[in-house]
């Protein structure tokens, strides 16, 4: 009897690495997760390997090489001041990912905290959610533009503005799953064993609301990359000396007929990043759905 159970336990419990491969296989079987992971993964890869891929400075002027179409010398062509578009797009990716990551971190802290409080305490719920309603009544980009305009243009401004816009949305998602989880039996059982509210939220409610949180944060990442481009396009994000994707499009706009690559290249970069993250989020939503897990039943 005893040996039986031990054998079962060994079979049920694969080693760390094997479990990682099994999980990875399950995730990659989901098509949109796989495509999203490849797209976003290559954006991240290019961003970090960027300085190795090109030795051209993104701000090096070359007046003799203005408006060069894509060629072997300049993979993605040059702009009105002869700067290499490949280098500029890669350095722009750093900014986009930095801003996206910052907004996601702020969302993970404040959105999750406020959502958990609203979901857990019915009294706070009304106050917090009415504030969220008020903020969400504005169209996202318009509100971001308003806040950024009020604070003055800078990368920090963009991060703050986008966080203010997306934190209520994240809080909403977290709140709704907290509302479900806090009614589950194990929360009552934890309370009966003397757990405090803080413990219940941290150990029981939030870990069980993880899946929608991860999905929401991946969407927030996509939207912030997109909205950051909008903000800097309008001159409300990064200063013009930084090759942000939005600034690249904004600068290239004047030469759209003669040098289409100036707008198409950063446009495609934004599209790939946002598409990759959206597919990733869609895939995560399916993969993390507990109903999809066969081994839990």
């Amino acid at each position: 009897m005893q040996s039986h159970i031990e054998i079962d336990a060994v079979e049920d419990e694969p080693t760390g690495l094997a479990r990682f491969y099994a999980t990875a296989r399950r995730f990659m079987r989901n098509r949109s997760f796989a495509i999203g992971a490849v797209l976003f993964g290559s954006v991240v890869l290019v961003t970090f390997l960027g300085p190795l891929l090109t030795d051209v400075s993104p701000n090096a002027l070359s007046m003799r090489n203005r408006f060069q179409p894509p060629s072997f010398d300049n993979l993605l062509g040059t702009d009105n001041l002869g700067r290499d578009m490949f280098a500029r797009v890669i350095y722009g990716a750093q900014l986009s990912l930095m801003i996206g990551t910052s907004v996601v971190i702020l969302n993970a802290i404040f959105g999750v905290m406020l959502g958990a409080l609203a979901g857990f305490y019915a009294r706070l719920d009304n106050i917090l959610m009415r504030i969220a309603d008020a903020l969400m009544a504005f169209p996202a980009v318009l509100l971001a533009i308003g806040i950024a305009a009020a604070l003055g243009p800078s990368s920090m401004t963009a991060i703050i503005a986008l966080s203010v816009v997306y934190v209520p949305r994240t809080a909403r998602v977290v709140r709704s799953s907290v509302l479900v989880v806090k009614e589950l039996d194990f929360v009552m059982a934890a309370r009966a064993s003397g757990a405090t509210d803080f413990r219940i939220i941290m150990k029981h409610v939030l870990p069980n609301s993880m899946a929608p949180m991860i999905v929401q944060l991946s969407f927030v990442f996509a939207y912030s990359v997109l909205s950051e481009a909008v903000l800097s396009f309008m001159g409300l994000g990064a200063p013009p000396t930084v090759p942000s994707w939005g600034i690249l499009i904004s600068e290239g706009r004047a030469y759209m007929r003669e040098a289409a690559w100036l707008t198409v290249v950063p446009g495609v970069a934004i599209a790939i990043t946002a598409l990759g993250l959206n597919l990733l989020g869609d895939g995560l939503r399916d993969v993390l759905d507990p109903r999809m897990k066969v081994e839990e039943g």
Binding site: E6, A9, A189, S193, K203, P207, E296
Partner: protein, 330 residues
């Protein structure tokens, strides 16, 4: 059994749901005692207020409820404690296990982690010491090779195993009182028997009093010292287990006993008590059981019957209790 001072003493407990918008009495004027080290069974069909009483003892009722009466735990009224004071009692002095072992454990952590964290929440010990204690507890509740089971997730265990883990968690602080709310209802019969034996053993080993809530008279017969029969939020009858089976003094108790299928009698249909419990919002004026009672007389629908003390610890809320006792004595 022991006539010591009770560790839990409930006096005229009344719980109303939705007190603001038309009150719904879920429990009314319930009084009973649990003495140290005894197994007290609370029996009744669904909706009779057993679980609400248990949750009231634990202070776990929803916010939209009004409690009146007293719950004395070791002589101290716990109905008006602050949140913080409640948290000190729960788990430490009174433990509780629930009906649904399948969902009562947090699915995202291993059972070892859940045990260790609860242990460390209550006692200042190192992780290693807490793990050893967890192994000890799992061993005590009869889980084979406990050390290797520590790293199992709840979904890797069967319902009976999970309920054993729940009992282990409830026993961490060796509470004076353990409330078990239908702990075996969701399990199959063989596991049911094992768990009841386990509870009984733990009671004699640790001296923890157990308040066992059930709807199964078979369970009562097997483990109870004393029995409280509840019907529609009121206590119908209280007695020691032998008395209640030999001389039931409330028609509802006899009704419940008749519903237990017997091996010696072959019948196509199981016995039932006809009718259903009254709606608490529109309860009849007299005895709440009168509409379903075969023995009801006109006097039954005139005013709530009071608890009548019969012999010793035996009491019944039936105006014809003496007659019933006389009948069964013959």
């Amino acid at each position: 059994m022991s006539s010591d001072t009770p560790i839990l003493s409930i006096r005229d407990l009344t719980v109303d749901f939705a007190p603001k918008s038309g009150r719904l009495p879920a429990v009314s004027n319930v009084s009973f005692d649990v003495t140290a080290g005894e197994m007290m069974c609370v029996v009744g069909e669904s909706g009779s207020g057993k679980s609400v009483t248990a949750l009231a003892i634990m202070g776990l009722l929803a916010a939209d409820t009004a409690i009146s009466g007293n719950i004395l735990f070791e002589g101290r009224d716990i109905t008006r404690l602050s949140r913080r004071e409640w948290q000190k009692i729960r788990g430490r002095q009174i433990g509780m296990i629930f009906q649904e072992p399948m969902t009562s454990l947090n699915p995202v952590f291993t059972i070892g982690r859940q045990l260790v964290e609860t242990i460390r929440h209550h006692e200042r010990v190192s992780v290693r010491a807490a793990r050893d204690r967890a192994v000890e507890l799992l061993d005590m509740v009869g889980i084979p090779s406990p050390r290797s089971r520590l790293d199992d997730y709840p979904h890797q265990m069967s319902g009976g195993m999970r309920q054993r883990v729940m009992i282990a968690i409830a026993l961490i602080c060796s509470p004076r009182l353990l409330i078990a709310d239908e702990p075996t209802t969701a399990l199959d019969v063989t596991i049911q028997g094992q768990l009841l034996d386990l509870l009984n053993d733990l009671r004699s080993e640790t001296g923890t009093a157990i308040m066992l809530i059930t709807h199964n008279m078979g369970v009562v017969a097997e483990v109870a010292d004393r029995v409280t029969v509840m019907y529609s939020g009121c206590v119908a009858e209280q007695a020691e287990v032998m008395q209640i089976f030999d001389h039931p003094a409330h028609p509802y108790t006899s009704g419940l006993m008749n519903c237990t299928p017997k091996l010696t009698v072959t019948s196509a249909q199981l016995n039932t008590i006809p009718g259903s419990m009254p709606n608490p919002a529109a309860a009849p004026p007299g005895c709440l059981f009168a509409p379903r009672c075969e023995l009801a007389i006109d006097a039954c629908s005139e005013g709530r019957p009071a608890q009548v003390n019969l012999t010793g610890n035996h009491s019944s809320a039936c105006i014809r209790a003496e007659m019933l006792l006389g009948e069964s004595a013959e």
